[in-house]
């Protein structure tokens, strides 16, 4: 049997699922609100209950976003020459022939994606709380409304790419969300620096 290696623990897997499900439901509701789509409203029991659900799911999303800081932020802020090399070959996404520099636990694109999710996730959460809880101040509401929507547009561009790259574009990646493990050979090819780190750690 092929050797496997653990990439994500139970907490990370659950946290990611909480974020993924809340995010997708929130996004669907967002389109319902934006374009007055009656079908989406009905699916959530009418626009009144959809609004309540939107607020509560927002709590789930922002809490999982908070925990993600401890899981990914340090890694997402650590860069070296290989990250520049990664950008030069565009991560090998546009051609299978180029050789991609060795990556750590998450690659350069994933680092950028995480930072985008963190920044716009904080934007969409904070502005959501303001609209929900502080409806008195007109200037705050207008600012929050525009921040909420800019974040929404950005996330609606970034997240589908993330889902595509994690499923169809890279078969075998989705299992990280299910079992948290990956084949040793796969890890060695995609995240060699991380594998070396893990093995070095074991030896020491």
């Amino acid at each position: 049997m092929d050797k496997i290696i653990k990439k994500a623990g139970a907490f990370e897997i659950i946290n990611h699922w909480v974020m993924a499900i809340s995010c997708i439901l929130l996004a669907v509701q967002g389109y319902g609100f934006l374009f007055h789509i009656e079908g989406i409203g009905s699916a959530f029991g009418g626009f009144n209950s959809m609004r309540a659900l939107h607020n509560y799911l927002g709590i789930a999303f922002s809490v999982s976003l908070f925990f993600s800081i401890f899981l990914y932020l340090k890694e997402a802020l650590t860069y070296d020459a290989d990250d520049i090399g990664w950008i030069m070959v565009l991560g090998g996404y546009l051609s299978h022939k180029v050789s991609v520099p060795p990556m750590g636990k998450i690659n350069t694109g994933q680092k950028f994606f995480y930072l985008a999710v963190l920044i716009f996730g904080i934007g969409i959460s904070a502005s959501g709380y303001v609209i929900w809880l502080l409806p008195g101040n007109k200037q705050y509401i207008l600012l929050s409304h525009i921040v909420h929507n800019i974040s929404f547009v950005t996330l609606m561009i970034a997240i589908p790419v993330h889902i595509y790259l994690g499923t169809l574009a890279n078969p075998g990646t989705l299992r990280i969300m299910l079992s948290g493990t990956v084949p040793y050979q796969w890890a060695k090819k995609k995240h060699p620096k991380w594998v070396a780190e893990v093995e070095g750690g074991h030896k020491a």
Partner: protein
């Protein structure tokens, strides 16, 4: 149906506030507790139970010691309404066939965004967190009556009628420019002002907040163009470049 409106002529108003009382009476709105603030104007601003009120203004004048202006404040029933634009709940705010901005409290979700979207600071929220404002007495109009406030007005300071005839009437009476004629696509509440609008406590050029316009014109289309763009790009990538197939790539390299 022709667009209907209300023409407000502050110069004809005697400040009796019968319109405020008639509105409360017809719409069954409870009285608000007020305090003596040393003037006739009360309550100081629109409330969830006060759809229209007379704003009392004392302005310096050349001839008299002072000049009293009584300006009726109410929903302006904009053609291009900021409240309707920003509202996320379908049907909570709607255009009546007379061109007024009607409200449906059952469909209001209580988010209060309309308060921020209104250029005239009109919408209020009641105890149940539902929008509350003048709806041009659409229940009266539907039965061939005129709004309670205009029906009651003893001096003709409030006049209800066909919007175009109200404008041409005001112009014939010597008001060159009627406030609200073209602003925000044309207001349903028109004002025959003798002086600049700011003398009467009104904005010279009322506009929907520019962030709301930007959101409506740019961000809303971007939200689906962006999403469908990246979904399409992913599909093209899948077909044209294809997914990483680890084993095949290894084999090719080892060749």
């Amino acid at each position: 149906m022709a667009r209907m409106g209300i023409l407000v002529s502050p110069e004809l108003c005697i400040g009796c506030r019968a319109c405020q009382v008639a509105c409360k009476s017809w719409n069954q709105l409870p009285g608000d507790k007020t305090t003596n603030r040393g003037g006739f104007e009360n309550p100081p601003d629109l409330t969830p139970h006060l759809y229209n009120k007379i704003h009392y203004l004392e302005v310096p004048a050349a001839a008299d010691v002072q000049r009293w202006l009584f300006v009726s404040q109410r929903c302006m029933h904009c053609d291009d309404a900021g409240c309707m634009k920003i509202c996320p709940a379908p049907g909570a705010l709607y255009k009546t066939k007379e061109g007024a901005v009607g409200i449906n409290k059952d469909k209001c979700i209580g988010c209060k965004l309309c308060v921020a979207g209104c250029p005239f600071n009109v919408p209020r929220y009641d105890e149940k967190d539902k929008i509350s404002k003048c709806h041009l007495c659409n229940d009266r109009i539907a039965n061939g009556l005129q709004p309670a406030c205009t029906k009651t007005c003893p001096t003709g300071a409030l006049k209800y009628g066909d919007r175009d005839s109200l404008i041409s009437g005001a112009q014939k009476a010597g008001y060159a420019k009627v406030y609200g004629q073209t602003d925000l696509g044309g207001l349903g509440s028109l004002y025959a002002f003798k002086d600049a609008p700011n003398v009467y406590g009104m904005d010279e050029k009322p506009v929907i907040p520019e962030t709301v316009v930007f959101w409506h014109k740019v961000l809303k289309p971007l939200s689906y163009l962006g999403l469908s763009g990246v979904v399409a790009a992913s599909l093209i990538h899948y077909v044209a470049i294809g997914p990483h197939k680890e084993k095949e790539e290894e084999e090719k390299k080892n060749g």
